[in-house]
Subunit: 436 residues, 2 copies
């Protein structure tokens, strides 16, 4: 879809010589306080997960995962897609929330929920499908937790005429019949995970392990599927450096928008699952953080039901329950951790990105965990105040913003929250948790 | 919510001295080929529905319904709200649909689906709530069919701190649990109609008449509720001249956007329920129609299950099944017409706007009717091609566009379709009709 016309007047226009949309992604790997710990094969393993990943992944993305360039040019065609889909996304002010809280802080919302599939995931899905097409791939397989990535991937695959197969954490797929239907309508083949489609899924089913599935089980199945279907490339929507790289478009826009407004950020907040929303939002501010120290707070909001950063430990672990993935060093609860069937599928995993692990280890990243009931109350408050219905994952970031604003109500600060997605297809969760 | 910043560069910006957002609404009443037939009281009625409506409606809206001014200034505060909510909405090009159809026509989409509540209804809801607040009203009651109006009204009432009660055609409310939940979360009290809350509802329940409800039953109940609750004003989201007036913001923007693109419209298409989407979209083109005759086609797309324009007759009828409303002269199927429980709640009524009646009577408006299965197939095609999931109502307009494009595939024309709303909260209908 091409946007033919939109009047800049209406939305607080910036001079046209001053574009907000960046032309380069920001490589977090060159901005970390220590080199990213490498992925490892398990000691004594018969087969090498690393070799498998090299075989089934797209070459360009493997290159990006190890790039030492501080900036990576965004291909022109991807920039066009970004523009067509509504980038840069607005930075809005939550004035009614500020009034409600009685805070002297200004609360800004970076509105990734306004993208066509309702979440930030499209930023990387478009890029990955572009590279897939460049490399001659015809079909992609991936995993999804809450479904935001699966839906975005299905949409991007349509734009690039690619086939798609999505393994979807079973409990989340069942909780979100609308999102699942839409993803299928977009042309994806959807398998609830664990499924009988793969060795990994069959093993999980036979063991009675993880019958609800998780992002981890879906990751394991998607990789296994690509291993056994040569015509498929495996892609993923979070965790990995190249995904965080693509998502830095969020932070770069935000940083520029704040500059233009003359608003220096004091607190940046994002929810954290695999870490691509947080990494993409905060990555372009890492140099500011290094310069400003405690004056700039970076806050990760996670689910109390999957408390990796607040209760996990920093060590090597697989990202799937069976062990088909390489070992990644990040904060983990252990791959057998019993994740309850919450409506927070996007944060429902036992480990996360190695990049987030490094940030947390060095004290650059605060972390706060929120209970499921609490975050649906926050979402319900936000929709009443601001008209915006946040995805359950995004509610965590908003919950953190509210908590922080309340701690020092008189302090004049700029609190900037990334709204990772909208909750229109997550209403089942809201309905379950709120009095009717 | 205030949009603080959005970069005009990204969306095909127009020079800033050339705003698309109009500052005046266009009054259709002064552009009709004959005066609007007045509403009437039923002969020999004990009480006067007209007097009742005068008592329970907002004064400014009554004035607008009879205004002879060709243009009516949009109050500055409403303009601000329009801007905040993303007006002007984009005019996009459906290039992949054009390619799929192999048509030489250009197909433009006016994207009302991108407004915060997902439909065009907010254009009038904002205006009505503004006038309600001006007149010191504190609570509003209304009806809704598919729920787009109820949701928009609930949202606008939040912005103006008004209470809201919504009577919602029972079958539609049940079909759309997500939309219903969201409307309640926005603060509205929702009653499925027919309900036990009002005399009208109790009468319908006792008679076993219209157990599924319809827009008509909900209209009757909302009016009855306002009659019996003095603290409430009654407002409505379609049919009436003032609603069409507010919605002309759609057509005025579209006309300006097409002018800037240098694209003269050949066919304008909208779905038609009560008529505010069609009237608002096409009203500003009525003078062009008068000048250009058959060179400019105005096409109404209706539901085959409620075929007012294609099978109804032009005569006076009540807009509710009990007869609490004044008599309106429009195309009607009769107020006892058994409307089947389709997933097309926004078009599911037995009559419509008197304005549409005049346009149709004078041959200015073509009409086409589409079956439910057909329109869900169209929606499914559109989401695969364009990423946009249209509301079932909007699918009718798209179905008409596709049919017209196919009739003369080689003809170079500009076909402009109004997308009245998105279908994210209508996925139950899609799921019921499409193979999984």
């Amino acid at each position: 879809m091409t946007v033919e016309l939109r009047n800049p007047q209406t939305l607080g226009a910036v001079a046209s010589s001053d574009p907000v949309l960046p032309e380069r992604w920001c490589n977090l790997l060159t901005r970390l306080p220590e080199p990213l710990p490498p992925v490892l094969d398990p000691p004594g393993a018969e087969t090498s997960p690393i070799a498998l990943m090299r075989r089934i992944r797209l070459r360009e993305l493997l290159t990006q995962d190890e790039s030492t360039k501080p900036w990576i040019d965004i291909p022109g065609e991807i920039l066009e897609r970004y523009e067509e889909m509504g980038r840069p996304t607005p930075l809005t002010r939550a004035r009614r929330l500020e009034t409600y809280l009685g805070t002297s802080a200004r609360i800004f919302l970076k509105r990734e929920d306004l993208l066509p599939t309702g979440s930030f995931k499209l930023n990387s899905a478009i890029a990955q499908c572009y590279f897939a097409r460049q490399e001659g791939a015809e079909k992609l397989v991936s995993e999804t937790g809450a479904g935001q990535w699966g839906q975005a991937l299905a949409y991007a695959c349509r734009l690039y005429d690619l086939g798609s197969v999505v393994f979807w954490a079973s409990v989340s797929e069942q909780q979100k019949p609308g999102r699942s239907a839409l993803t299928r309508m977009l042309g994806a083949t959807v398998y609830p995970s664990p499924s009988a489609e793969t060795d990994v899924g069959r093993q999980l089913l036979a063991d009675g392990q993880a019958p609800l599935g998780s992002l981890g089980s879906a990751i394991g199945e998607a990789i296994c599927y690509a291993r056994d279907h040569a015509e498929f490339r495996y892609v993923s929507g979070s965790n990995l450096p190249h995904v965080l790289l693509h998502q830095t478009v969020i932070g770069l826009e935000t940083r520029r928008q704040l500059e233009i407004l003359g608003a220096r950020p004091d607190v940046l907040i994002a929810c954290v699952g695999g870490g691509s929303n947080l990494g993409g939002f905060m990555g372009p501010f890492l140099e500011d953080k290094a310069a400003r120290g405690d004056e700039l707070r970076l806050v990760a909001a996670e689910a109390a039901s999957a408390p990796r950063l607040t209760r996990g430990e920093l060590r090597y672990d697989h990202s799937d329950p069976v062990g088909i993935t390489p070992l990644t060093r990040s904060y983990t609860l252990g791959r057998d951790y019993p994740l309850p069937p919450t409506h927070v599928g996007g944060l429902r995993q036992h480990n996360g990105s190695a990049v987030i692990g490094v940030l947390r280890k060095h004290g650059l990243l605060e972390a706060r965990a929120f209970e499921e009931r609490e975050i649906f109350e926050v979402g319900s408050l936000i929709v009443r105040l601001e008209g915006l219905l946040p995805a359950p994952e995004s509610c965590h970031a908003l919950a953190a913003a509210i908590a922080i604003a309340r701690e020092n109500p008189r302090e004049k600060r700029n609190i900037v929250v990334c709204i990772s997605g909208n909750g229109w297809l997550d209403l089942e969760g809201y309905r379950e948790h709120l009095p009717s």
